[in-house]
C-alpha cells in the first residue's frame, strides 16, 4: 500500500511541477502567485469533491451515486438562476462577493440537507430505489432551473451562463481564502471520522452493535458533504460542463480509481488516496490538455465523457449482480 501512495505522491508532484513550469513566459514574480493561486484552487476543489464523494458513498452504502450525480452542483446553478431571476442581472452584479459566497454556501448546505433527507427516506440498502431517487431529484433540480431560465430576459441569462461554468482560468484570491476557511475544517473533521466511517460502512445493524449508531454519524457526514460540495462549487462553479448540462462524474471517476489503485475498506486509506487522485486528475489533466496537447476541449468535458461511460459500466455490472 505504501508504494502505491509513493506512486500517487510522485504523480502529483510531477503534475504540480508541470503545471507551474510548462509554457511559462514572462516574469516569475507574476507567474508564481498567479499559477500558485490557481493550483491552490484546483487542489482545494479536488480534495473537497473527493472527500464528499467518499463520505456520501459510505453513508448511503453504494458506489454508484455521488453528490454530483444527484445534481448537487446543479443546485448551485439553481441558486444562481433564482438570484438573477429575483434581483435582475444588475442587482446580482451589485451583490458584494463575500455576501454572494456566504449566500451560496448557506442555501446549498440547507437545500443539500433537505435533498439528502429525502434521499435517505428512499431507503438505504435498496440500491435501485436509492439511485433512482437520486437521479430523479437531480432531474427535478435541473428542470426547475431550466424553467426559471426560460422566464429570464435573454441578456440577463448571459450573466448566469458566464458565472456557472467551471472557472479554473481565473481565481479570485478573497474567494479562495473564504473557501479554504470553510473547506479545511470540514476536511479535517472528515479525516477525524475515518474510523467511524469504517464502522458505518458495515451497515446499520453491525454498526449499531459495535456502538456506533448510524443516524448520528450519517447526519454529521451529511453536513460535511454539504459544506464541502458547496465550497468547491462556489469556488469553481460546477465541474460539470456547466450549465444545466449533464451531471458531473468527477467524484465518481476519482473514487472508483481510488478503489482500484488502493483497494482497502479503511477510510484512513481511501480518503487520502481519493484526494490525491482528484488532485492528479485536475492538475495533471489541466496541464496535459492545455500546455502539452494545446487542446481547446475543456477538461470537464473529457471527465464527463469518461465518467459517463464508467457510470454506465458500474450500473450495468450492478444490474447483473
Amino acid at each position: 500500500m505504501t508504494d502505491r501512495f509513493v506512486l500517487l505522491a510522485g504523480l502529483l508532484i510531477l503534475s504540480i511541477l508541470g503545471f507551474m513550469t510548462l509554457g511559462a513566459e514572462g516574469s516569475w514574480s507574476f507567474l508564481l502567485p498567479f499559477r500558485g493561486a490557481k493550483l491552490a484552487a484546483l487542489m482545494l476543489v479536488g480534495c473537497c469533491l473527493a472527500t464528499a464523494t467518499v463520505l456520501f458513498q459510505t453513508i448511503t452504502g453504494n458506489r454508484i451515486l455521488t453528490p454530483s450525480v444527484m445534481g448537487f452542483d446543479a443546485l448551485y446553478v439553481l441558486v444562481l438562476t433564482a438570484l438573477v431571476f429575483g434581483l435582475g442581472a444588475a442587482g446580482y452584479a451589485a451583490l458584494p462577493g463575500p455576501l454572494l459566497f456566504s449566500l451560496n454556501m448557506g442555501v446549498m448546505t440547507g437545500a443539500g440537507l433537505l435533498l439528502f433527507a429525502l434521499l435517505m427516506r428512499g431507503g438505504r440498502g435498496d440500491m435501485v430505489r436509492l439511485v433512482l431517487t437520486g437521479i430523479v431529484l437531480g432531474l427535478l433540480i435541473r428542470a426547475l432551473t431550466t424553467f426559471l431560465q426560460r422566464m429570464i430576459d435573454p441578456s440577463e441569462f448571459q450573466t448566469i451562463q458566464s458565472a456557472s461554468f467551471a472557472r479554473f482560468t481565473f481565481v479570485d484570491r478573497r474567494l479562495l481564502a473564504a473557501t479554504a476557511l470553510a473547506a479545511l475544517p470540514a476536511l479535517a473533521l472528515a479525516w477525524r471520522m475515518r474510523f467511524r466511517l469504517d464502522v458505518l460502512a458495515l451497515g446499520t445493524e453491525a454498526a449499531t452493535g459495535l456502538g456506533e449508531p448510524p443516524r448520528r454519524g450519517q447526519r454529521q457526514a451529511l453536513v460535511l458533504i454539504c459544506v464541502l460540495v458547496a465550497a468547491a462549487t462556489a469556488l469553481a462553479g460546477p465541474v460539470s460542463t456547466g450549465f444545466a448540462g449533464p451531471s458531473s462524474f468527477f467524484g465518481l471517476v476519482v473514487v472508483s480509481l481510488a478503489h482500484l489503485v488502493t483497494p482497502s475498506p479503511r477510510h484512513a486509506v481511501l480518503l487520502p488516496s481519493a484526494a490525491l487522485i482528484a488532485c492528479i486528475v485536475l492538475i495533471g489533466g489541466q496541464t496535459v490538455m492545455e500546455r502539452l496537447l494545446h487542446l481547446a476541449t475543456p477538461l470537464p468535458v473529457v471527465i464527463e465523457l469518461l465518467g459517463g461511460l464508467l457510470f454506465l459500466f458500474l450500473l450495468l455490472r450492478k444490474a447483473h449482480g
Binding site: G125, T208, G209, G211
Partner: protein, 250 residues
C-alpha cells in the same frame, strides 16, 4: 443480568411482542425457540438496541438500554443478527477485527490483535483470513460473523440462528464452544435455535416464544415436551428420551 420488563412492540399496527418480561442471570446458555414469526429476532434486537424500544424497560447489568452510552453497551453485549448484510467488501480477518472496535476505537493494540487471532483460530478461520466475504461459502461466512461477535469480548452474547448453513460438525463444535464459554468464562449467551435437539443438548435453559408471548421457560427436559410441539409448533413429532435428554424424532 439482562432484565426485560413489560416489553411490548408493535409494527404496522400489529402486535409483535406482548408484555414480555424475563430475567437472565449471568452465566449460562439460554436457547430461545419458537415458530417463524414468533418475535424471537425482535426481542433480541430490542435488547441490543437495534430497534427502538416502544414500551417497557430493558437493562443489562447496570445499563439501561436506550439511555446508556452506545459504546458502554457495545463493551458489555454483542449481537449477531439473523441476516447480517455486511455492505462493505471485507476480508474475513478484517471483519473479525471490526469486532474489537468498541475497545480500540480504530487503533487496535496488542490485546486486540490477540483476541482476533484467538477468535479466528476458534472458528477454524485462520486459513481463510485473507479471503473476501463474498468469496467463501455460506457456512464459512456464518462462522466469520459469529467469530466477529465473539471477538467483541463481551460478557453477554446474543446470537440469532448462528447454526444457519453450518454442517453438523461445525454446529456441534460451535454449541460446545458456547457452552464452554458459559461455564468456564462466565459468559451469558442467548441463542435463537430452530433445531430443538441442539437446544436440548447444549442449553441450560429454554425459553419458548409464540405469538409475541413467552409460553414456556425452564430447563430443556421440562420445556421440550410433545405438548409444546403440538401447542406451540402445531406439529406431531415424537419425543423420545435418550440419556435423560429429550430428543425430537423428526
Amino acid at each position: 443480568m439482562i432484565e426485560v420488563k413489560g416489553v411490548s412492540h408493535d409494527m404496522r399496527g400489529q402486535a409483535i411482542l406482548r408484555d414480555v418480561s424475563l430475567s437472565l442471570p449471568r452465566g449460562g446458555v439460554t436457547a430461545l425457540i419458537g415458530p417463524n414469526g414468533a418475535g424471537k429476532s425482535t426481542l433480541l434486537s430490542l435488547i441490543a438496541r437495534l430497534q427502538r424500544l416502544q414500551r417497557g424497560r430493558i437493562t443489562v447489568d447496570d445499563l439501561t438500554v436506550g439511555a446508556c452510552a452506545d459504546r458502554d453497551l457495545a463493551r458489555l453485549l454483542a449481537i449477531m443478527p439473523q441476516s447480517s448484510a455486511i455492505s462493505a467488501r471485507l476480508r474475513v480477518g478484517e471483519l473479525v477485527g471490526m469486532g474489537r472496535y468498541p475497545w480500540h476505537g480504530g487503533r487496535p493494540g496488542a490485546a486486540d490483535h490477540a483476541a482476533v487471532e484467538a477468535a479466528l483460530a476458534q472458528f477454524d478461520l485462520t486459513g481463510l483470513r485473507h479471503r473476501f466475504l463474498d468469496e467463501i461459502s455460506g457456512g464459512q461466512r456464518q462462522r466469520a460473523l459469529v467469530a466477529m461477535a465473539c471477538a467483541q469480548g463481551t460478557d453477554y452474547l446474543l446470537l440469532d440462528e448462528p447454526l444457519n448453513n453450518l454442517d453438523i460438525a461445525a454446529s456441534r463444535q460451535l454449541m460446545a464452544l458456547l457452552r464452554h464459554m458459559a461455564r468456564d468464562q462466565g459468559k451469558s449467551i442467548v441463542i435463537v435455535l430452530h433445531d430443538i435437539n441442539y437446544a436440548a443438548g447444549f442449553a441450560d435453559r429454554v425459553i419458548a416464544l409464540a405469538g409475541g408471548r413467552i409460553v414456556a421457560d425452564g430447563p430443556p427436559a421440562e420445556v421440550i415436551t410433545p405438548g409444546l410441539l403440538r401447542g406451540v409448533f402445531d406439529t406431531d413429532a415424537r419425543i423420545s428420551v435418550i440419556d435423560g435428554r429429550p430428543v425430537v424424532v423428526v
